[in-house]
């Protein structure tokens, strides 16, 4: 395997960005990531992005996204209609070929434009489930109920939300932050039982970009590259009825293969509060691990970018020396159907 590292990360998000379109949001974020990487824009060996047409309500969201990159002379470029974390996976695979030594990965999305929970309902089986319009919050509520029935309580969910909001106070890209106690949150009304508003992710608009570099190139441009020590992703069955919703078999498998051990920081893509303990359990994280120091997806959830943001947040803590070894996680599909796990470490480990 060729060693590949995250060498820079940039992001921007807000609850709603009515003034700028996706490309206008993306341009400064991509420019910042490239600038910080110390690698010239025209030297980047491979470019790959993640986005979803249904957020904008028009086909080919990624085509205009290309205008933020400056694809001239023509570039080696690809796109996944998935969270940017999977674009990063494609870039990591591409760097294994050995003929190039850097890659730009980005994703973007404005979920303020439509009714996101309804848009996501169209991810379901188009013949038997999508016509029922089971929205993403209601699907998550079914999972939360299964998890509560497995012996947990709502207080644990409120603790996750309260901690995420506290942590987000230091994150300028957080959409939601503040000092509320779990007890206070539990007095809020239900949105979709057993989920309250704070158990769900905020609507967010934004963009995220990461630059990867291989081997000596990474050491040359970055004082402390965040080396990818393991990366794997697994999908599970689509039908909610055939899955054990209170646990995450696919996250467990991806975590085992990526080698999640000895991490001090975890950035978990848990858009709903009950999903954080499910993922902690699946990844075998001990109580000492600092989970979601950025505030996580409960603080800002740029759909299609929130998973890549987790990798960027974890990597930035290694690059600035706050962490030695970290795990980042991304999810896709209803109730954690598809999970990606990426383990990052500084040079010493």
């Amino acid at each position: 395997m060729i060693d590949v590292a995250v060498v820079s990360f940039a992001q921007w998000s807000a609850r709603e960005e009515p003034a700028r379109n996706e490309v206008e949001i993306l341009i400064p974020v991509v420019a910042e990531a490239i600038e910080r990487s110390g690698i010239g824009r025209k030297e980047i060996g491979f470019t790959v992005s993640g986005s979803c047409d249904y957020l904008a309500g028009a086909p080919f969201a990624f085509v205009t996204g290309l205008d933020a990159v400056g694809a001239w002379p023509p570039i080696r470029e690809s796109h996944v209609e998935m969270d940017g974390a999977w674009a990063l996976y494609e870039a990591w695979v591409r760097l294994q070929h050995g003929d190039i030594d850097s890659a730009l990965v980005y994703s973007f999305g404005k979920s303020s434009l439509g009714d996101l929970p309804i848009v996501l309902s169209q991810q379901l089986d188009p013949y038997y489930q999508a016509p029922l319009w089971l929205d993403s919050i209601s699907a998550a509520a079914l999972q939360a109920r299964a998890w509560l029935n497995a012996g947990h309580d709502e207080g644990e969910m409120a603790e996750v939300a309260a901690r995420s909001r506290r942590a987000a106070k230091d994150n300028p890209n957080a959409v939601v932050s503040g000092d509320q106690s779990a007890e206070a949150l539990l007095r809020e009304p239900f949105l979709v039982t057993p989920l309250r508003r704070h158990d769900c992710p905020p609507i967010s608009d934004g963009a995220v970009a990461v630059v990867l570099a291989a081997g000596d190139r990474a050491r040359e441009v970055c004082e402390r590259p965040a080396w990818i020590r393991g990366i794997d992703h697994r999908i599970e069955a689509h039908g909610l009825g055939v899955r054990e919703l209170a646990t995450s078999a696919s996250a467990r498998l991806a975590g085992e293969r990526a080698g999640v051990d000895g991490v001090d920081v975890a950035e978990l893509h848990a858009p709903f509060s009950h999903q954080e303990p499910i993922l902690r359990d699946a990844l075998g994280l001990s109580n000492g691990v600092d989970v979601n120091p950025s505030g996580g997806a409960l603080a800002a959830n740029v759909v299609m970018g929130a998973g890549l943001t987790r990798i960027g947040e974890a990597a930035s803590r290694i690059m600035d020396g706050r962490a030695a070894r970290a795990v980042a996680h991304a999810t896709s599909g209803p109730c954690l159907q598809h999970n990606l796990v990426c383990v990052l470490a500084g040079d010493a480990t």
Binding site: M1, T47, C52, D53, Y54, G57, A58, P59, F60, F62, V63, T64, L66, D67, A71, W72, P73, P74, I75, R76, E77, S78, H79, V80, E81, M82, W86, Y89, E90, V93, R94, Q96, H97, G98, D99, V119, L120, Q122, Q123, L124, D125, P126, Y127, A130, D232, H233, R234, I235, E236, A237, H238, G239, A249, S250, L253, S332, G333, P334, Q337, H338
Partner: protein, 385 residues
């Protein structure tokens, strides 16, 4: 450098304007099952699944890998979904090949599909956007001015597109999976068909199809002991450029030239006209055959139409093009690129049946998309390098 990759299984559906007999999952499984059978493998042999298709609005299913995980045997495995506009079928094969070239997996299943009867592609391609003038022109309205520019530049006679339209439909009659089977196709039929977007007549355009294509790709070790002779992947390349900017040559795009130069260099091809035995390229409108022959470097600029005119691109010609009948005969958009790549592999494996080019050893598969701005290509060979 990267690992060697082999194509050991190829499958496709019978393509039609509507396949109401199968669901989207059923359509994908039809192609995937044929590819697995060809490879003499089962679902459990597969390490990872890579799917591709054009915009989700073509069926109305958002990020369909989520729904297709079970149907494509991906539960507990890695699964990815590629989308690079019209080139996506080719790009999907390249992302799958990349997993072998990077040494990540041993056996990867890749599937590309479009079930266009589920929605309306013309509508999905021309959604009005805020602050942008709606064109509602579809792809034909976009590409016809580029074709007119080509005719003006090259002084091509006006009948070249008609020759391509007839030749590709004759090839399709030899391909049992092709969508259009026009037994009575003739120069006169094409000439008399209605003009849609001058100079593109009705019979010079591609159909709208339901269909899927699948391939099983493996590592060198598995490919070397494959049940049937594999196609070896000698080169893979993708290139993209922006849709529009001052000075861009949209008729003969730089991204296509760069992509071809890259894929030929990887495959050790210095004289494509001599070293490539046949080409399966993405020709959704007849005139794109001569245009791409020039863009790919098989002939000097302005000379492509002469190849078509003298019959060099026919099945028994000097440089056969679109032996399967091409996009002009079968067009499930998201799968169209992979069908090109698969036909190139079928040819070098000697599996193309009635549309087999005698003695084909090395072939080029080509796909493009967007406003002639996204390109993906591979060179495959019967000979292991």
């Amino acid at each position: 450098m990267s690992e060697l990759c082999a194509v050991v299984g190829i499958g496709q559906t019978h393509h039609k304007s509507a396949r109401p007999d199968v669901s989207i999952a059923g359509l994908c499984r039809e192609a995937a099952t044929r590819a697995l059978d060809d490879a003499e493998m089962t679902w459990t042999d597969i390490d990872a699944v890579v799917i591709g298709k054009a915009p989700d609005m073509f069926e109305g299913v958002v990020m369909p890998e989520i729904y297709l995980a079970d149907a494509l045997g991906a539960v507990g495995k890695p699964m990815m979904r590629v989308h690079t506009a019209g080139s996506v079928g080719g790009s999907t094969a390249l992302v799958a090949a990349g997993l072998l070239q990077g040494g990540i997996h041993e056996r990867v299943l890749t599937v590309a599909f479009e079930k266009q009867s589920e929605a309306d592609a013309m509508w999905a391609l021309s959604r009005p956007m805020p602050f942008a003038p709606p064109t509602m022109a579809g792809a034909g309205g976009y590409f016809s001015p580029l074709i007119r520019a080509y005719i003006r530049r090259s002084d091509a006679p006006s009948n070249i597109g008609i020759l391509v339209a007839v030749k590709d439909r004759l090839n399709a009659l030899k391909n049992p999976y092709a969508h259009l089977r026009l037994e009575d196709i003739s120069i006169e039929k094409v000439e008399e068909s209605p003009m849609l977007w001058d100079p593109i007549r009705y019979l010079e355009t591609c159909p709208s199809s339901d269909g899927a294509c699948a391939m099983v790709l493996t590592s060198e070790a598995i490919g070397s002991r494959a049940a049937k002779p594999p196609a070896w992947v000698l080169g893979t390349a993708m290139r993209s450029e922006p849709t529009m900017f001052a000075g861009r040559d949209a008729v003969n795009p730089q991204a296509g030239k760069d992509c071809a130069a890259d894929v030929f260099a990887q495959a050790g091809i210095t004289n494509p006209r001599e070293q490539i035995d046949c080409i399966e390229m993405y020709v959704p409108f007849s005139w794109y055959e001569p245009m791409w022959l020039e863009n790919l470097g098989f002939v000097p600029d302005g000379e492509g139409w002469k190849m078509t005119e003298k019959g060099a691109t026919a099945l028994d010609g000097e440089l056969p093009v679109n032996m399967s009948g091409g996009v002009l005969s079968t067009n499930p958009i998201g799968a169209s690129g992979m069908l090109r790549f698969a036909e190139a592999a079928l040819q070098v494996r000697g599996q193309a049946g009635e549309h087999q080019v005698d003695g084909a050893r090395t072939a080029l598969g080509h796909a493009y998309g967007g406003g002639s701005q996204f390109f993906s290509m591979w060179v495959v060979s019967a000979d292991k390098p």
